[in-house]
């Protein structure tokens, strides 16, 4: 049923039904090519694929993909995050972070799951858990270590000697030592 209304502007692209220009393009999202550059903050409802230079912050409700040629100097947040290029900055993956063998990541990482392929470069702090955003009570206890101390009982003048030098896991998140790369 193609009634050609005279003067009606037919969008040219409907004529030859070209597939979306990116082969494996992100769904409802954004692709930055190798010559594109973004400096600033991006919040996006969907996926984002970074191929060029990025500085600032990227927040995606969907997945974040960093291509081989990309140079990202930004904080990244997304569902699945896949790094094949160069990233420097903190990364939060609600689902899974993958640093592929061509990838390089410098920055602190909060993820639910983490995959680092052989050949990848990574430096930073890793905290893993089912909910990277909410500090829900930890379900899985390190079985051997933590004997639940009776913290409820108000012990006046806690004996300092009782503190055996337990190798505390890194809770010194505050100490920002300058990281040379």
């Amino acid at each position: 049923m193609s009634t050609r209304a005279p003067g009606a502007r037919v969008p040219r692209s409907t004529a030859d039904q070209t597939p979306p220009e990116v082969s494996a393009g992100p769904r409802g999202g954004i692709t930055l090519g190798p010559n594109d550059r973004l400096i600033g903050e991006l919040h996006i409802d969907g996926d984002v694929r970074l191929g060029g230079t990025v500085q600032g912050e990227i927040h995606a409700t969907g997945d974040v993909e960093v291509d081989d040629a990309a140079k990202v100097n930004a904080s990244l947040a997304g569902g699945d995050i896949n790094i094949r290029g160069n990233v420097s900055g903190p990364v939060t993956a609600r689902k899974r972070l993958v640093v592929a063998r061509s990838g390089s990541l410098t920055g602190d990482v909060r993820v639910a799951r983490l995959v680092i392929q052989d050949g990848a470069t990574f430096s930073g702090n890793v905290s893993m858990g089912p909910q990277p955003d909410a500090f829900a009570p930890v379900k899985e206890m390190p079985v051997a270590s933590a004997a639940p101390e009776p913290a409820k009982a108000p012990a006046p003048a806690a004996p300092a000697a009782v503190a055996a030098p337990q190798p505390t896991r890194n809770d010194g998140k505050a100490k920002g030592k300058p990281q040379k790369r």
Binding site: F122, G124, V126, A144
Partner: protein, 134 residues
Amino acid sequence: MDVQEAVAESTPIEAAQDKKDGLRRFTMGPNDSLEGKLTYDGHVHLDGRAEGELRVSGNIEVASGAKVKALLEASNVTIKGDVEGALNARDKLVLGKNAKLSGDISVRRLQIEDGASLNGHVRMGDFEHQGSGG
């Protein structure tokens, strides 16, 4: 405090020669336990429980089901069980899919399989002075 000797209970610890590279092999079974400080010229296979400090010229392998709370230092480290403590791999660290590691690590190469859990700081690169007149 430095514990000089390694106390091993129920000792089916066998020292066998590794066929491949001729290095000795220190093997612990799932019912073994080790507490203290071990310096070993060869490979170490850890199962059961280990606590303290292990410095190994070869590789360390932590079996799945093992519980290790120790400082680990070796060429290659492969973890399939639970490890708590600082870790230094002169070459490569591999975290298997059921591995749990909490502690700061410094490695040359790193491979983490999906499902593994890691908490700690990661430092990566050639941080050792390996000859090459510099």
